[in-house]
Amino acid sequence: MSERPGTTSSPTALLRARGIRKSFGEHEVLRGVDLDVRRGQVIALIGPSGSGKTTLLRSLNGLETPSAGTLELDGGPAIDFARAPRKADRFALRDRSAMVFQHHNLFPHLTVLQNVVEGPVHVRRTPRAQAEARGLELLDRVGLATKRDAYPRELSGGQQQRVGIVRALALGPDLLLFDEPTSALDPELVGEVLGVMKELADEGWTMVVVTHELSFARAVADEVLFLDDGVVRERGRPRELFVNPREERTRAFLHRILHPLDDEPSA
């Protein structure tokens, strides 16, 4: 995880999104979102469920195709979603990024190591021996090298998610996308996954993380975006946004998460 080139900071954004919109039928989930991701940056997307944060994340790698807006990769030509995007554009987005899912989505018929090398060997055509050596090195760093021949169902939720992270890292992506990576875990397993993610952030990986773990966002993120009803209601450094939110909606959301048993804060 250390040999990330990301730490050499470049002034241009790795990813620049402008005016991203997405509708599902009548329902507009994203209503014009801007997002800049610079190399080495960790961005946390927070917000109530249905706010569009997962849809935004999935738009960044082509799992969702926005209805409008532009995406620009590494200062390259912008993809304009006003027209149906070309396959090549969608794949360009995907091939620069890797994703960690809420429900890990490991391949159940493959062992841990096979899961990790599936992309490198069968997509990138890396020689198997080389891919396995690299995969084992990564598994070792998350403490799972001994599980190389286990099947996913034989692992705990936290272990499964750590394998999911390694599977993403094995592709050597420029951008790591996390979709609520700890939401499906038992509370006592959350820490081991967040620990790995914090290490990755410290090593300079570029990450966009959809999360409900405010303490993680606060400790690790460089920038936090609060999405609400399909727009970015507020954005800023975590210290500012968490301690001193400007918007009433942000304040109410933070209060609900931090004090779930309380009533709405009195104005």
Partner: protein, 217 residues
């Protein structure tokens, strides 16, 4: 009961089963699975014409008797100038038939693989065809073993229909001996017993296969 006739005729019937019935079932089933996969993928296509073609095929196969399909190929096609020998005729008819039934099993099995598996494969850069081959079909195979085993066991018994187009298989052998000795009850019960033993052995095989595939999921 004429036990002498029973024991004298047992080996000829079993032998015809081993060299006639089983190869016919195995070859037809193998070809049928390939057809079924093609039809299942047609059914799942987003292209309405392709999807309709798959649907029409399944409907035709399932909506007409196997015996009629067999007769169309062996007795019907010659009038169009297409003459096929008994054995290949039977293979064609049974393969097409299995293709229709197994296609529905495979379609359901493919649909049972969670969407997240397609998405995960997409995010590691896999094209659709590779995803299908390396990620989805292995998982679908696990799900479809029990229903496909049923299809296969039905097929083993259905091959007895091939006796009506002169294929030398187990039932045909029993018929020949019965006609010569007039011991109809004895010979037909005997051949029934042979089919039952064959199918029971195959069921054991199915259990073993399911156990092997159960290591994951």
């Amino acid at each position: 009961m004429d036990w002498g006739l029973f024991s004298d005729s047992l080996w000829p019937i079993v032998h015809r089963g081993l060299v006639g019935t089983i190869p016919l079932a195995v070859v037809s089933f193998a070809i049928g699975l390939v057809i079924a996969l093609g039809i299942a993928l047609l059914r799942l296509s987003v292209n309405p014409l392709l999807s309709w073609l798959g649907r029409a095929y399944v409907s035709l196969i399932r909506g007409t008797p196997l015996l009629v399909q067999l007769f169309v190929i062996f007795y019907g096609l010659p009038s169009l100038g297409v003459v096929i020998d008994p054995w290949p005729s039977a293979v064609v008819a049974f393969s097409l038939n299995v293709g229709g039934y197994a296609a529905e099993v495979m379609r359901a099995a493919i649909l049972s693989v969670p969407r997240g598996q397609w998405e995960a494969a997409y995010t590691i850069g896999m094209p659709r065809a590779t995803t299908l081959r390396r990620i989805v079909l292995p998982q679908a195979a696990r799900v479809s073993v029990p229903p496909l085993s049923n299809t296969f066991i039905s097929l083993v018994k259905d091959t007895s229909l091939a006796s009506l187009i002169l294929v030398a298989e187990a039932f045909r052998q029993a018929q020949v001996i019965a006609a010569a000795t007039s011991e109809f009850m004895l010979l037909y019960l005997e051949v029934a017993l042979v089919y039952w033993v064959f199918c029971t052995v195959l069921s054991f095989g199915q259990d073993r296969l399911e156990k092997v595939l159960e290591r994951y999921v």
